[in-house]
Amino acid sequence: MSQSLLLKKTDFSIFFQTLKSLGKFFAPVRVSEQSFSFKEIETEAQIAWEALRTILPPKKFFYPPSETLVEYSGNEIREVKPEMNFQVLFGVHPCDLAGLGIMDTIFEAGPADTHYLQRRKESLIIGLSCMPDKYCFCKSMGTSCATKGYDIFLTDLGDAFFVQVETPRGIESLENCRQIFTSVSETDKDNYKDYWERRDKAFTNGFEPDNLRATMDMEWNNEIWDELGKRCLSCGNCTPVCPTCYCFDLVDIASLNGDSGSRVREWDSCQFVGFAQVAGDYNFRPTPVDRLKFWYRHKLHGFDDPYGFKTCVGCGRCTVSCPAGIDDLVDVVKKLQGQRESRNDSSEAGGENESQIK
């Protein structure tokens, strides 16, 4: 059961200091005119409150882009354990929390990825409410309200935060600044409900989610895949930015002495041509169309087996990160659903492109 509390924004500094004393503190910071990134911060002023989506999702904290798993030297093989320091991850929005939930399921499934789980365990996650922009469609994916994956969740009520503490670790982390939290009043509760109602209405992007799985299956041979495939650069930008893309490559790095080396795992992308190639130069997905279609299906239809859930959380990252301006999942779904007029007035994808780059 969660515990509800109220935190005045004027007291946030104390909260911040307390959390910071627990370990490394990460929050979204601005890195360019349009982009944000979760970075370690020193002062409260560095937090980019306006950040909706960071370039890379929080998965990078538990599943780093590149990680040495095993080393060998002579006859000896040794596991390289993750270097763990307690970390606080602040400002994670509902879509990303849902994303973490999916990552958890995959990495927990046997045989479990111990490094991921360990990093996950050594982290305190503070969720934060958000108002959607024109790319957000978590509502359509059913991930717009966080249900798990966080220790504490903050809802922004103007001059105060409505604080939901979800886990024992969350409670523990507040111990040293318990005095700044008050219990919630009826008005606070009303404001809270108000906020989420307003938010629910704020979505301008999205689609009718019913039958999504069926649509993806039925439209496997729809010609729009070919159109998209022609524009696709196979650059793979859409996958690392996805909160639930977890594919990787494992490579050996040998040392000059010939006697030692390491095995490194690095994020990979199903959009690359060699991804599904096997011996005899047989490639199961030789063209950009094949790969793009596969990826869309994996996101919107999801696993056939063994998990059976969709893996898109509606964060809009792939849409804003596609240099070709084609990765508009919402638009694709609408087209597949037959709403061909939707955003297609400017006929050529160039118009689409422009609207995204703006």
């Binding site: 890195v31 360019s32 005119e33 349009q34 982009s35 990134s37 370039i55 890379l56 990078k60 882009p65 590149s66 022609k230 524009r231 696709c232 650069l233 196979s234 650059c235 793979g236 930008n237 690392p240 930015v241 490579v251 050996d252 790095i253 040998a254 040392s255 000059l256 002495n257 010939g258 006697d259 080396g261 690095e266 994020w267 990979d268 992308s269 690359f272 041509v273 060699g274 950009p288 804003v320 990160s321 240099p323 070709a324 301006g325 160039g350 492109n353 780059i357």
Partner: protein
């Protein structure tokens, strides 16, 4: 595993026509290599060079004159592993790119006159003439990649060299995409990784110095850049600067009727 009594493997570091960049990189890493190899030939760095057989020959530069070709054939004949290092040796680099747009013999004639004895060849990568065992591109090659590739070859193993696009490394470094945000003509999507997405990490457009990635989507790249306002010919010029071979543009030219 190498027994102590066996002699160190021999390497040769040779150059054809290029900027000497790979020679510099190898020279600068020589202290790391020296415990494990004997340098039997490295004319850029030492005067005492022998011509005997070597285990590994690192060859920089493109084949741009008959003298280069003769030298390359000799190197091929004397080495177990022929490693093409640098964009020049792997793709032909800027001089290769230029040969795609004007004839080298015209240039020669214009400079030295019709009767010139100087001989030139259209700049080509090594594998246009001899079998190449390993191709390590880069302009210049990346030190980390060079060392791990050398480590593999020293064990007589085929090295791992990534051919994924620069965008991957760019995203792993969490850069804001400058093709999207600054509308600069970043060639990361069609360029092979290896540099660690150096240019985008410094806020500049990748200009393709590593040469093409595996199966680059040149036509999609051209479409996207022309939509951003770069004229078609300029785009092709950019894409071909660092030696991307013509056959990668076949679809583009057949579909648009453009001269690629």
């Amino acid at each position: 595993m190498r027994k102590d009594a066996t002699p160190l493997p021999c390497i040769a570091v040779e150059s054809l026509t290029g900027c000497a960049g790979e020679l510099l990189v190898i020279l600068e890493n020589l202290d790391k290599l020296l415990p494990f190899v004997r340098v039997s030939s490295f004319p850029f760095a030492q005067s005492k060079n022998d011509d005997g057989p070597v285990d590994i020959a690192f060859v920089e530069g493109s084949v741009s004159q008959p003298h280069d070709l003769e030298k390359l054939r000799n190197i091929r004949a004397k080495s177990r592993w022929l490693v093409a290092v640098g964009n020049c040796a792997v793709w032909g680099c800027v001089q290769g790119g230029a040969c795609a747009k004007c004839k080298v013999t015209d240039m020669l004639e214009a400079v030295y006159g019709k009767s010139s004895e100087i001989q030139v060849l259209e700049a080509k990568p090594l594998d246009a003439y001899v079998p190449v065992d390993v191709k390590l591109s880069g302009c210049p090659i990346n030190t980390t990649q060079f060392l791990s590739v050398t480590a593999s070859i020293l064990k007589d193993h085929l090295p791992y060299i990534t051919h994924k696009p620069v965008c991957l490394e760019c995203k792993l470094r969490e850069n804001a995409c400058i093709l999207i945000e600054k509308n600069l003509p970043c060639l990361g999507p069609v360029t092979a990784a290896g540099c660690g997405a150096l240019c985008p990490s410094m806020g500049a457009a990748c200009y393709g110095c590593w040469g093409p990635c595996q199966s680059p989507q040149m036509d999609a790249m051209a479409t996207i850049l022309t939509e951003k306002g770069y004229d078609a010919m300029e785009v092709i010029n950019r894409l071909k600067t660092f030696g991307a071979p013509d056959h990668l543009f076949e679809r583009m030219s057949s579909e648009t009727g453009r001269e690629a």
